[in-house]
């Protein structure tokens, strides 16, 4: 590489400046500065509460970009965070980052895959040195093979609830957003190095990526981001189509986990997405107290269905760049699940939210958002996702003000939208009594 010398010089400057960043007081919400580079790469930074720097590269390589024959590629990208890259070996990455007490983690969802490196502020140079290499993964065939067990373990660790959510996505969107964020079992060992590199070349483009940092100065990070070499990245994300229907997986046991959803709000329409987020909290996004009941419409509906109490019911709300899902996930005894789902769908279809519910929803949502923004670990993910998807980052204050601006009417409209939408059912477990989507219409 021709510009290696240039890089080291720059990184040295970063380390020096790293000492100078002043941590913000604990509990304070940091201002976020956003900078868009010439190649459309978004660089966003915020101050940290402790002298620990977190830097993420967020790439638009989530599972929605997978074709049928590359299903699971994004899961392997998450796995590849610990594998060799074209410039450095897995050994070097692991040891060098460990040596300075840092960590390198990967995360991802249907839209993005993110690599986060976390080091003390004075060692950020080492972290960035190996973070930039992750843009050129090597996917050595023997390393993929050696890590097949890890993939198996990860798949075994996926909860029933999560699998129901994957299934409901599949029913709702079929392809694209319908792709699971976990590699399907039939693809284990079938993804070749070449097809993975092709996937990377298509999806790792600067115009869909973001470099975000917490506890690092924006100028410094922009300088680092400018030296990043993105593969050309010609691929385009196909827009999502909502279909609705069923995706069921029968397994042994006496329990069933069911996710039912209709069309929700997309990030492209922030007002609607926020209204759905308020609605999620209003109808019951999970218990507020430990082992408590979920309050709101869904909690009540599940209770009035009778039978043994469902072990969990919570609202499901996901917003993607051009579509969204809204509904619920419930898990219960197989003999009771039919009635529970029926009652919950009746609640979902009623399309009504009281003023009291909206007020509670707003309060809960605000609390969740502030708690996300106030921890460094939460903040980096939040701004990473926002920067990659909407190419801009909203500060906590703006977001809170926007939530305050959501009226009951808007939440009502959101509820009506999902009530009028065709439903999707994703179910796993003992499905004897689980209704089909056509029965719920």
């Amino acid at each position: 590489m021709a510009c290696n010398a240039n890089k080291t010089h720059l990184l040295r400057a970063i380390a020096k400046r790293g000492y100078a960043t002043c941590p913000r007081p604990v509990g304070d919400i940091s201002a976020v500065s956003v900078n868009v580079l010439e190649n459309k790469l978004v660089v966003a930074t915020a101050d940290a509460t402790v002298p620990v720097s977190r830097v993420s590269i967020v790439l638009g390589a989530g599972s929605r970009n997978e074709a049928y024959d590359t299903l699971g590629a994004s899961h392997l990208l998450r796995l590849a965070g610990g594998l060799s890259t074209q410039n450095s070996s897995a050994f070097a990455i692991a040891r060098n980052i460990q040596q300075v007490g840092g960590t390198l983690t990967t995360w991802g969802d249907r839209e993005v895959v993110g690599y986060t490196v976390e080091t003390t502020a004075d060692n950020v140079e080492t972290g960035l040195r190996y973070l930039q290499d992750l843009l050129q993964p090597a996917f050595k065939p023997w390393e993929l093979k050696d890590n097949a067990k890890t993939l198996h373990n990860q798949l075994d660790g996926v909860t029933r609830e999560q699998r129901a959510i994957e299934l409901v996505h599949k029913a709702a969107f079929r392809t694209g957003l319908g792709n699971s964020i976990y590699i399907p079992r039939f693809q284990l060992g079938n993804l070749s190095t070449e097809s993975l590199l092709h996937y990377v070349a298509n999806t790792f483009s600067a115009s869909r990526a973001a470099v975000v940092g917490v506890g690092i100065d924006n100028n410094t990070l922009s300088g680092f981001a400018q030296t990043l070499e993105f593969p050309s990245g010609g691929g385009k994300t196909a827009s999502a189509n909502y279909f609705g229907g069923d995706a069921r997986k029968d397994t042994t046991g006496q329990r069933a986990t069911v996710a039912v959803a209709g069309l929700g709000g997309s990030i492209a329409n922030p007002k609607e997405a926020l209204a759905f987020a308020v609605l999620e909290q209003a109808v019951g996004a999970g218990a507020a107290t430990k082992r408590g009941n979920s309050s709101g419409l869904f909690g009540e509906a599940a209770n009035s269905a009778g039978g043994s109490r469902p072990s969990s019911v919570r609202a499901l709300n996901t917003s993607y760049s051009d579509a969204g899902l809204f509904g619920f996930v419930v898990s219960s005894e197989a003999k009771d699940i039919g009635k529970t789902v029926e009652f919950l769908v009746r609640g979902l279809k009623s399309g009504s939210v009281s003023e009291k519910d909206v007020a509670r929803g707003k309060a809960l949502l605000k609390a969740r958002i502030i708690s996300k923004y106030s921890s460094d670990g939460g903040l980096i993910k939040e701004i990473g996702r926002q920067a990659a998807l909407s190419r801009n980052v909203l500060e906590a204050d703006t977001l809170i003000a926007a939530i305050d601006g959501i009226t009951q009417q808007q939440v009502q409209e959101a509820a009506k939208k999902v009530a009028g939408s065709k439903l999707s059912v994703g179910a796993i477990g003992n499905l004897e009594n689980v209704p089909y989507a056509s029965d719920l219409a």
């Binding site: 050994f91 070097a92 040891r95 050595k140 023997w142 070449e194």
Partner: protein
């Protein structure tokens, strides 16, 4: 995977090299140079990393050679491996394995 394309023939052609190659006799069994490497830890790891097809071809050549040796025969001359056609298929993998080992050793020395 452009970096794993194997070198064919010797790096420097010479008459002496050809004479030495033919004197070694392994080519009369249809073997290539990389089939005859002593299997130390590095070579074992490099062999493990070979793509399936190359790995199978290697095993076939070795089994054929064992069979020929057992029956005290050699291949007909037109099937001998030629000096110019000896494929160093293991070399790129072996170099990488050695480099990785040296990296580990360096690290252990310095930390």
């Amino acid at each position: 995977m452009a970096s794993y394309i194997a070198r064919k023939g010797p790096s420097v052609f010479s008459k002496l090299g050809r004479w030495a190659y033919n004197m070694s006799r392994f080519n009369q069994y249809g073997l290539h140079r990389d089939d005859c490497l002593y299997e130390n830890e590095d070579v074992k790891e490099a062999i493990r990393r070979l793509p399936r097809k190359i790995y199978d071809e290697r095993n076939y050549r070795i089994m054929r050679a064992l069979h020929l040796s057992m029956t005290k025969t050699i291949l007909p001359k037109e099937q001998w491996t030629k000096y110019e056609e000896d494929v160093k298929y293991l070399e790129p993998y072996l170099n990488e394995v050695v480099k990785e080992r040296e990296e580990r050793e360096d690290w252990n020395k310095n930390h």
